[in-house]
């Protein structure tokens, strides 16, 4: 049994400790907002927060998450109103939408560390996340919009 703390809830899972966190989230816990895109740390669709840091859950063994704090897109904000989630809808970023939870989770760490990121900061922080539909320009705008929202509300 492995005990996990995900989105402030406790789960006990009976899996091989080598199982990537991604598949535990998706297959065992029905937290399917975290996506599979490549399985080899190349696309960012699977980004979650492990103790506040963005990690690629497809290459993060579940054993590494044991007893740590995991946050997924479902738990980023209780009411799904994190400034990024608000801005994402306001800017109407998604096309197919498949990459977007990974994008948001990666952007959330950027925005926490850098309250006012420039385009260059965004490019540097977000280049690990593929959007096959090509919504990058809107992702940039939405991150700027979220930064502004965050400034206003805090």
């Amino acid at each position: 049994m492995i005990t996990l703390n995900i989105n402030t809830k406790t789960y006990n899972v009976d899996v091989d400790p080598n199982t990537p966190l991604l598949w535990v989230l998706r297959d065992e816990l029905d937290l399917v907002g975290t996506k599979y895109g490549c399985g080899v740390a190349q696309c960012g669709a699977c980004v979650v927060h492990l103790n506040g840091e963005a990690v690629r859950s497809c290459v993060t063994k579940v054993s590494r998450a044991e007893g740590q704090k995991v946050v997924t897109i479902e738990g980023l904000a209780e009411k799904h109103d994190h400034p990024l989630q608000v801005a994402w809808q306001e800017v109407d970023v998604p096309q197919c939408g498949y990459c977007q939870s990974g994008q948001i989770m990666a952007a959330a760490v950027l925005l926490r560390e850098n309250k006012n990121p420039t385009d260059a900061d965004i490019d540097a922080a977000m280049s690990g996340n593929i959007c096959r539909c090509g919504t990058y320009l809107r992702i940039r705008s939405a991150i700027h919009a979220a930064a502004e929202l965050q400034r206003k509300t805090t």
Binding site: N7, K9, V15, D16, T19, P20, W23, R26, D27, E28, L29, D30, L31, V32, G33, T34, K35, Y36, G37, C38, G39, V40, Q42, C43, A45, T72, I73, E74, H80, L84, Q85, W88, Q89, E90, D92, P94, Q95, C96, G97, Y98, C99, Q100, S101, I104, D119, I122, D123, A124, M126, S127, N129, I130, C131, R132, C133, G134, T135, Y136, L137, R138
Partner: protein, 771 residues
């Protein structure tokens, strides 16, 4: 302006529901049934009254509109219901949108592809909305005993101004549902549109940003098993034998078996393409367990030799021999060069091109090449199936359920009405998901196991067993007279395994002497539609060629195109010219204006222009290239598009921006190569996809404003990006690039971050450019 009238009695979808007397429709989908842990489910099952196939209303006036077409990011889930809401005169902000079931009687063709969603549903959806509105008004008129002509509607409310009576649609829905469908209904004048032509947010925005289960890969059912297929390591190979003993001992593994996809002699439909027919299937409880166990599956492979496929479809039944050769990219290139010099099939001829070329003062000839491309939808191929002796439920990402259903029914030996296909949101499609083989694979596996199964491709499976964009080549030739007038144009294109030529496209119709030819080389590498099939190559080649031609003729590239279009308009050459010269010229003029084409302040950029017509719409781009860290970088793009009426402008802008980014990415990096039949790119570490730092700072999109019925948008902006990028790269480096992707062709010396003066390219007279 008078309102448009339309006759609708032929349309079966408008028939009132058989649920007479305001019968109740329970609406229940897997999405509302799927509860996230710790999240209260929303038992949202009100009593819907079906007014027609697209519209359901509750007595307390909740209006639901069904989206008929599969959503793969082109925004139909929002845009199509907007069209219904417009004519229904519903309050868009209060409308509930739901993905419709697969039901072509009620909901039409249900096919996403060919940039057709809005185009083919434009009229039916308007009629559905307008008919429902008329019926609701009639119901109110009957109730209030007033003439229907005296009623008006306003955002879901019916009003009788004379008597000051008013009521909601909901109040009259039950009565309206049993009123005969009017024989004739009026459609709105487009200038009066309120919902259509206004920018509305994605109706699934919140679900997407909060990680709700929307996609096929998220689909789940109690007791569901995970299946994967181990395919041969290369095209042209087949399974010789396998040993599953070790794999079967691994945790969670249920079964390993060999199963045919199509039985011997099976007649495939036109979209039943599949890479391999033998499926070595491994099934287990969870994804990771199956991934681990498949590594322990020992299989021996052998050359498959030539294979005979029987293909049905429109052209009638034919036998196709799929060659067994293990193909490699270098050898393919050589073969293409060889075929390019052989006689080819004539596709169009105007005037006397041979004589014109013989008498020419100058001939420009260039050869363009492009590789296979993998679709690489970010959601890998997958499908859910639960097949029992009596029925089948299948669910997942699929562009054309109506094309797949007949094959599925045959393979499962079930009548079509016992098959339910649920369409999930797709994590990209780009043409890949028009080919239903993976749905059949899932269903056959489920039938064999008698259990609910989700078939899943890993990224590697997805990339290496694709239905790819073909490999293409084309020779373009132009003949100029002594005054540098274009007197003849010749294009000869070929491909593995199909040629790219659209013979009746521009500049056909604008040149007196014109010849188009095509040839193809059979292959076992499976190919299919890829965002703007064939056009995505032609626009690169032809638009680069026109740029080079303009230079040779001493003309501005936009002016050359406009002159040719003027000619095509005033005195068109030949018949069947596919494009409208005015609309084509319109986007060129628009992009010229919006990009400040001749403005001095833009001279700091290396600018490339290209324009193209495909899928009934027109798109032009000006690409502004600069240098970033010694690498070429597309910093800005100006786009002009004519796709008729734009339903949802901001969403349409998003799609054009995406097409531009996708085009830049594929133009610079897109490439799938083979070695002895095996794909050499297997995942995103060696198949390069454009990323954030390579995306432009700005893509400014302008739509031509007109009242033409929508003509399609998903594909048209994509192809000309390639040509515009190629032309901008020429301005930056002074060297023309003829091979895609352009990235590896870019001169490797570090470029200074300043623009170079283009070196005049040497024109080769009457001689093929050395490869």
């Amino acid at each position: 302006m008078t309102e448009q009238k339309t006759s609708i009695n032929r349309r079966s979808f408008l028939k009132s529901s058989a649920l007479a007397g305001g019968g109740l429709m329970l609406s229940f989908t897997w999405l509302s049934a799927f509860k996230l842990p710790g999240e209260a489910g929303k038992p949202d099952v009100p009593n819907w009254i079906e007014v027609n196939g697209y519209i359901k209303i509750t007595a307390d006036n909740v209006i639901k509109i069904l989206n008929p077409n599969p959503e793969f990011g082109q925004n139909v889930m929002t845009s199509l219901p907007m069209i219904v809401a417009e004519e229904l005169d519903a309050d868009w902000q209060k409308v509930v949108v739901e993905m419709g079931p697969h039901d072509s009687v009620k909901l039409g063709p249900q096919f996403t592809g060919g940039s057709n969603s809005v185009r083919m549903y434009w009229k039916p959806l308007r009629e559905a909305g307008a008919a429902a509105r008329t019926m609701l008004m009639q119901a109110a008129a009957d109730t209030w005993k007033v003439p229907a002509e005296e009623l008006t509607t306003n955002a879901g409310l019916i009003v009788h101004p004379k008597s000051m009576k008013s009521g909601t649609y909901g109040e009259f829905a039950a009565k309206a549902a049993v009123i005969p469908v009017p024989k004739e209904i009026k459609l709105k004048d487009p200038v009066k549109f309120k919902v259509v032509r206004s920018s509305q947010k994605n109706v699934e925005g919140l679900k997407i940003v909060s990680g709700k289960p929307l996609f096929g890969l998220d689909y789940k059912q109690e007791g569901m098993l995970i299946a994967m297929i181990v395919h041969p390591p290369a095209f042209g190979m087949k399974l010789k034998s396998f040993d599953a003993s070790e794999a079967l001992t691994m945790a969670g593994i249920k079964d390993v078996f060999l199963q045919k996809l199509y039985p011997d002699g099976f007649e495939q439909g036109g979209f039943d393409t599949r890479s391999f027919n033998d499926m070595l299937v491994i099934v287990g409880k969870s994804t990771w367990q199956v991934m681990q166990a498949r590594k322990k599956l020992k299989a021996q492979w052998e050359p498959a030799g030539d294979i005979k496929d029987i293909i049905g479809g429109r052209g009638g039944k034919k036998e196709v021999i799929v060659p067994g050769e293990l193909e490699s990219t270098d050898a393919q290139h050589k073969k293409m060069q060889e075929f390019a010099s052989k006689p080819a099939q004539q596709l169009r001829r105007d005037g006397d091109p041979e004589t014109a070329f013989k008498n020419a003062a100058q001939i420009i000839e260039r050869t363009y090449n492009a590789p296979f491309l993998a679709h690489n939808c970010l959601e890998p191929i997958n499908f859910f199936a639960h097949v029992t002796a009596e029925k089948a439920l299948v669910a997942g990402p699929l562009q054309a359920p109506g094309w797949s259903e007949p094959t599925l029914a045959k393979l499962l030996n079930l009548p079509a009405d016992k098959i339910e296909i649920q369409m999930t949101r797709m994590g990209g499609g780009f043409g890949r998901r028009a080919y239903g083989h993976y749905l059949y694979e899932a269903a056959i596996i489920s039938q064999k196991l008698n259990a609910p199964v989700k078939l899943m491709y890993t990224r590697e499976d997805d990339m290496t067993y694709g239905i790819y964009r073909p490999m293409y080549t084309a020779i373009y030739r132009a003949a100029l007279d002594a005054n540098k007038n274009l007197v003849a144009f010749h294009v000869k294109g070929g491909g593995i395994p199909e040629h790219p030529i659209h013979a009746n496209r521009f500049p056909a119709g604008a040149v007196d002497n014109y010849l188009a030819e095509g040839w193809q080389i059979p292959s076992n590498i499976t190919i299919g539609a890829f965002r703007a099939p064939r056009s995505n190559f032609n626009a690169a080649a032809e638009q680069s060629f026109l740029d080079e031609l303009a230079e040779a003729m001493g003309k501005d590239p936009i002016e050359l195109r406009l002159e040719l279009l003027q000619r095509a308009k005033e005195k068109p050459v030949g018949k069947n010219n596919e494009y409208d010269a005015d609309r084509y010229a319109g986007i060129l003029k628009l992009v010229k204006e919006k990009s400040g084409w001749n403005k001095a302040e833009n001279k700091k950029y290396s600018r490339g222009i290209a324009a193209y017509f495909c899928h009934n719409s027109y798109a032009a781009h000006v690409v502004d290239l600069t240098m970033k860290n010694g690498q070429p970088y597309v910093e800005r793009v100006f786009s002009a598009v004519d796709c008729g009426i734009v339903v949802n402008p901001d969403a349409a802008t998003n799609m054009v921006q995406g097409a531009v980014v996708d085009g830049i990415g594929n133009a610079f990096y897109g490439k799938l190569t083979h070695k002895d039949g095996a794909a050499e790119q297997t995942n995103f570490h060696n198949y390069r996809i454009i990323r954030m730092n390579e995306a432009p700072k700005k893509v400014e999109v302008h739509f031509v404003q007109n009242n033409i019925d929508p003509t399609g948008l998903g594909e048209p902006p994509f192809p000309p990006v390639f040509g515009a990028v190629a032309n901008a790269l020429y301005r930056a480096y002074g060297k023309r690039l003829y091979e895609q992707p352009y990235g590896p062709q870019i001169p490797q010396q570090t470029m200074p971050d300043v623009k170079r003066k283009p070196v005049k390219s040497k024109l080769i007279l009457n001689k093929r450019r050395a490869q």
